[in-house]
């Protein structure tokens, strides 16, 4: 594995106190790394710093061992896809893709071929002469990706590219992006606040909180061993129960329903508040002492229990965190 992008001790402070602090991150060639976090956590600032749209206050950024910290966007081998497609609306799809190639003084025939290939790969060849406003959201998004990829950047930067699309198309676009990325093996950095999107797309995820990276790992590492309560609550569904001075956390699927309480620290009594058939499984809302948790059971569970009845369950896999002061 080669390191494509190296970020060392990067900080960027805005006048209002927001920003990112002391970011250290290495991105491997050919991976999709997702910057994940709620809005205002600094993920876009970090991405914009990589793209050259923000000048960092401290630290260094290098691509292929070349320091690019002070270079303007046009001198960096990165291309960014902005939030909400953001195509040039007075240019056709073809012209949108051609603009960058022209600026790079690529001969006309070569430009035509490259654009034709790109549109073909994205499945929008028929749209070449249309204007952005005549396209659907999904098509515009494909053009935006195509406009970036046709320039063959070393690193593709995506800033919440799917936030303007509806849920169904979003899922489809993710699949497409993943396929294209695997085909071109292009190093990709993806910013999102959607943990499902991050789980689905990423080779690795960097979870951010208040301007810092709190954990970097593969989706399953992050899901199975979150470093703290914040990450545990942010990724997937997680239940929390207070136990003296600690908090135990467990996934709704990591439980077993048992008939007798063995009175150990893994077994709990609860009262069922609701039962919902979710298809191939049952979702239960259960109160344990005064806390409400979610449990998943097999689809037969709904026939065995009723709302208001007592349930005993055993946690098969749990995490334990110290209480935050």
């Amino acid at each position: 594995m080669t390191i494509k992008l190296e970020i060392k001790n990067v900080s960027k402070k805005y006048d209002n106190g927001d920003g990112i602090q002391d970011i250290n991150l290495e991105v491997q060639a050919g991976e999709i790394l997702t910057l994940l976090g709620p809005s205002g956590c600094g993920k876009s600032t970090l991405l914009r710093s990589i793209g050259g749209f923000e000048s960092v206050t401290e630290g260094s950024i290098s691509i292929d061992n070349q320091d690019i910290t002070t270079l303007p966007p046009e001198k960096r081998p990165t291309i960014m896809v902005f939030q909400g497609y953001n195509l040039w609306e007075r240019m056709t799809v073809f012209e949108n893709l051609e603009f960058g190639l022209k600026l790079r003084k690529i001969p006309k025939d070569e430009r035509k071929n490259k654009i034709a290939d790109m549109l073909e790969m994205l499945g929008i060849s028929a749209m070449a002469q249309k204007y952005p406003q005549q396209l659907s959201g999904g098509q515009q998004q494909r053009v935006a990706i195509g406009r970036a990829l046709v320039l063959e950047p070393e690193i593709l930067l995506l800033d919440e590219p799917y936030s303007a699309l509806d849920a169904k198309i979003r899922v489809q676009m993710r699949e497409e992006l993943k396929k294209i990325q695997q085909k071109l093996k292009i190093t990709t950095i993806f910013v999102t606040h959607d943990q499902e999107e991050a789980m689905m797309l990423s080779t690795r995820i960097a979870v951010m909180k208040k301007g810092e990276i709190v954990q970097v790992g593969t989706p399953s590492e992050i899901y199975n061993s979150p470093a703290d309560i914040y990450i545990a609550s942010f990724i997937g569904q997680m239940n929390f129960l207070n136990q003296e001075n600690r908090i135990i956390a467990f996934r709704p699927e990591d439980t077993e329903f048992v008939s007798v309480n063995e009175n150990n620290s893994e077994t709990f009594d609860g009262v069922i508040q609701s039962l919902t058939q979710m298809g191939h499984y049952t979702q239960l809302f259960v109160t344990v002492a005064s806390e409400t948790i979610i449990l998943f059971g097999s689809k037969e569970v709904i026939e065995k229990y009723t709302v208001g009845s007592k349930i005993v369950f055993k946690i098969t896999k749990k995490l334990s965190f110290e209480k935050e002061k």
Partner: protein, 282 residues
């Protein structure tokens, strides 16, 4: 019951429109019709004639006045558009104290009465005025020679029109998304390319519209040329005033009014063409 309610519903819009419609008829349509009528009448016999127009379109002095008016107006349009666009660009792409101060300054002239502004400007630029005195402090004999000359008129017009053009152009520049500019920079667009391929295509309409407004208000201008202009050549607004108040030749005055109206409608045509133009990308 139902029918009368329907009838009442149908009448209501007309009731709302009627006062405005009558006002327009009385204050705009009626004077225009009488002016046109008057312009084709002989001043003594009241017979039909085109002599009133002939006078303005053949008389050397009057032709020169028309040319002078067009020259001053077009120069004002071009200069206020260029300078206003540069200012608007600066304000749009720089968020600092200077740009905020400039925005405040562009609004200021709207609060100063025209007459006051013209007199103040004259105090500054007339020979022996503020500029000359400052120059004298440094031992330099300097007279701007701005009064009674086209450059003085144009400068004053710019004082009025640059802020106006800036505000109009700023509105259209503000509608360009930052990301649009950034993504163009990202792929290597230099400043001139940004201007030519991204910024101008989304602002040219407002540029024409601002130009049309500036042209209209300057072709028929009166206050500034009356106070600052020379006796020859004269701006048409002043010529019209003289025809009306000094020569009392109402028929010629009417003909000149129609000519001024036609000149103004040139910019109305530009305005309409630009607005009606169907854009492929929409």
């Amino acid at each position: 019951m139902n029918e009368s309610r329907g009838l009442r519903k149908a009448i209501i819009p007309y009731i709302y429109v009627t006062p405005a419609f009558l006002l327009i008829l009385l204050l705009i349509a009626y004077p225009i019709v009488t002016s046109i009528q008057l312009s084709f009448q002989d001043s003594t016999t009241s017979h039909f004639t085109i002599a009133n127009y002939q006078y303005f379109l053949t008389n050397k002095i009057q032709l020169f006045n028309i040319g002078y008016t067009l020259f001053v107006s077009i120069a004002t349009v071009l200069l206020s558009l260029i300078l206003g666009f540069i200012l608007a660009l600066y304000i749009r792409f720089n968020q600092n104290k200077i740009s905020k101060a400039v925005v405040a300054l562009t609004v200021l002239p709207q609060f100063i009465p025209g007459l006051v502004a013209v007199y103040s400007f004259m105090m500054v630029v007339r020979n022996g005025g503020v500029l000359s005195r400052i120059a004298l402090k440094f031992g330099i004999q300097y007279n701007p020679n701005m009064l009674y000359a086209a450059k003085g008129l144009i400068s004053m017009n710019l004082w009025f029109n640059i802020p106006f053009a800036t505000l109009l152009l700023l509105a259209s520049l503000s509608s360009i998304k930052d990301a649009s500019i950034e993504s163009a920079r990202d792929i290597g667009a230099k400043k001139m390319t940004l201007l030519k391929d991204i910024i101008l295509p989304s602002t040219y309409k407002q540029i024409f519209i601002a130009g049309a407004f500036v042209f209209m208000s300057n072709v028929g201008a009166f206050t500034t040329p009356f106070l600052m202009g020379a006796n020859n050549p004269q701006m048409l607004g002043v010529v019209l005033y003289r025809e009306f108040n000094e020569n009392m030749n109402y028929n010629q005055a009417a003909a000149l009014s129609v000519i001024l109206f036609l000149l103004c409608s040139l910019s109305a045509v530009v305005y309409i063409i630009v607005n009606m133009r169907k854009e492929k990308w929409r």
